[in-house]
Amino acid sequence: MQAIEAFLTGRIWIRQFIPFPQELVQQAINQGNAIVLNGISADGQCARCLEKSPDYVIPYACASCEAVCRYCRTCIKMGRISSCTELVVWRTPSTVNAGLRTFGWTGDLTPLQESASKAISKSIRERKDHLLYAVCGAGKTEILFSPIHEALQKGLRICVAAPRTDVILELSPRFKQAFPDTTIHTLYGDSPEQSGYGEIILATTHQLYRFHEAFDLLFVDEADAFPYSLDPSLERAVKKASKPSAPIIYISATPPKTLQKRITGQSTIFRRYHGAPLPVPVYRAMWNYERQIRKGNLPLPLKRWIEDKLQKQQPFLLFFPSIQLIDQVCPLLHKVDSRIESVHSKDPQRKEKVMQLREGMLAGLATSTILERGITIPHLQVAVIGSDHRVFDRAALIQIAGRVGRSAKDPTGEVVFFHNGITRQMDAARQEILFYNKEGRV
């Protein structure tokens, strides 16, 4: 396979940004291997992200082609696409690269994981969508390894998409270990360029915009997570990136009801891999917490809770509903202990701070919902401050509670909802966790 073919197969790319000489690109187009598309179609739809809302596809007087062009704001961060932008798509189907592959994963699956794994393999063989509904800490990644290995040997091109870069970065070394002789590309916001034809693509959901009928098999991890659930364009991206008949496997701990109804092939795991039940959230009233914090007082119940954790030397996370509130509470927390830091989505040192918490250099972290998924810290304790706030919906609260007790050595821990009135979302989250524990009991 030529280098340019390996790069372009399955991709949709802005012509002048293709990392090959323009003569080579022109040659491919002349030979009919690649075709050129307009960036924005005549009816105002972006060819890359399929956005068509006039709020995001904006007309302007273009000086390049001296006419009125439209450009797309939805995917602008990947290089702007306007009506006069040329996009290149590879046309010739690639040769299937089937054959034996090394499987570098040697762990054991629990019987529940085993049967879920088999069910997924079966769905893939029958080319059907599948939903893996498994609680936080069920060992979802391990379940995927065996079906992926089987698909690889048939020469399928596979993508695992997750909503956040952190999750992708955590998956990458595990996949490289499990499939040592397979080309794996890891794609996120500003990922380094990777050469060759990626047989497994690990990508943030946004990166899927850049693919066009590329995958024979697609896994969507955390299928309910922000921004996936809010953003219909990402759902379109999933469809666009996969071949028409490709099965899509959704993986979630908190799947929305619509997904549960739509997909017939399902497997459920309501037990963590270590077998212990999920920690059940406790409600604790903390009236007018916002006002107290604004006035410079740390609410007493929260203060006592923090002091208790400090004394027991347990790391803790404090979830807050807004960045503004975190900024206000941070100096108050410093007064209690200087080893309490804060992180939020715009913090460049996010990774370092989480590492410090894991290593015990920090006592605790105040965070926005950004850390609700994908982090595992032993002995972790969690408090949600203002769990009645609307950002904490059922799924977010279940995910937050799922941070606790993930390791087999210490499967217990505390989850406290400090609230200013109990909401239905809080009740729904608690009911669901109780339901998992009941179903998951042997």
Partner: protein, 219 residues
């Protein structure tokens, strides 16, 4: 409609003004809007840099052959983090819509202006590559009429160091339009003042008597 910087839903704030008069729809949410910081308007008389009455850069220009070229000038905003992000998204990611973010400020600054408004141009090659002129778009969004008098020569300042910039000789030539006596030069970002001084010099030699300057941002 969502905020055009953070994509959060905009909260509709009703006002009496909005009921009786047309108001351009707000593009930014309040938290994003608050991130930008206006200059105090009490700084350098030439470029609006905060601090001394004549800033270090302008002092240099006044001493080195550009004396009394510019009558006065001002800048509207500081070059803080939010402004850097805005500028990057506008000029380099080419998000033309963002020209409207400061339309109101630019309109207020220029709506009662009697002198001719002259935007700083880009060279044609750059213009074709970028697909829009960032200064023209700012003025268009503000609804301010303007007239081009200058053309940019080949060189661009973007990749140059401070010393190289200030030593650049000829940046502009006239495009052949008649040059009036009074005019206001408009640019997006004022860094060292080389662009403005060069443009002013070219225009003064062609007969302009009073040249003032307005920039959106003072770095």
């Amino acid at each position: 409609m969502n905020c055009c910087l953070c994509d959060q839903a905009l909260r509709f704030v009703p006002s009496w003004r909005g009921i009786f008069l047309y108001e351009a729809p707000e593009l930014l949410c309040q938290p994003c809007r608050n991130e930008f910081s206006k200059t105090t308007q009490q700084g350098c008389k030439f470029c609006g840099k905060e601090g001394e009455a004549i800033c270090h850069d302008c002092h240099y220009w006044e001493e080195h052959g550009y004396r009394e070229l510019i009558h006065s000038g001002k800048s509207l905003y500081r070059y803080n983090d939010a402004m850097k992000d805005w500028f990057h998204q506008y000029k380099f990611l080419k998000d033309v819509l963002l020209a409207r973010v400061f339309a109101k400020d630019i309109r207020e600054a220029l709506v009662n202006e009697r002198a001719m408004v002259v935007p700083i141009p880009l060279n044609n090659e750059k213009l074709r590559e970028r697909s829009f002129s960032q200064v023209d778009e700012l003025l268009l969004a503000a609804g301010i009429p303007y007239c081009h008098l200058l053309e940019k020569c080949g060189e661009t300042l973007g990749e140059k160091t401070r010393q190289e910039r200030m030593a650049t000789k000829q940046l502009f030539h006239l495009n052949g339009e008649a040059v009036p006596k009074q005019l206001v030069l408009v640019d997006d970002l004022y860094t060292t003042g080389t662009t403005m001084r060069q443009a002013a010099k070219t225009l003064q030699e062609a007969g302009a008597e009073s040249i003032r300057i307005l920039t959106l941002i003072r770095a």
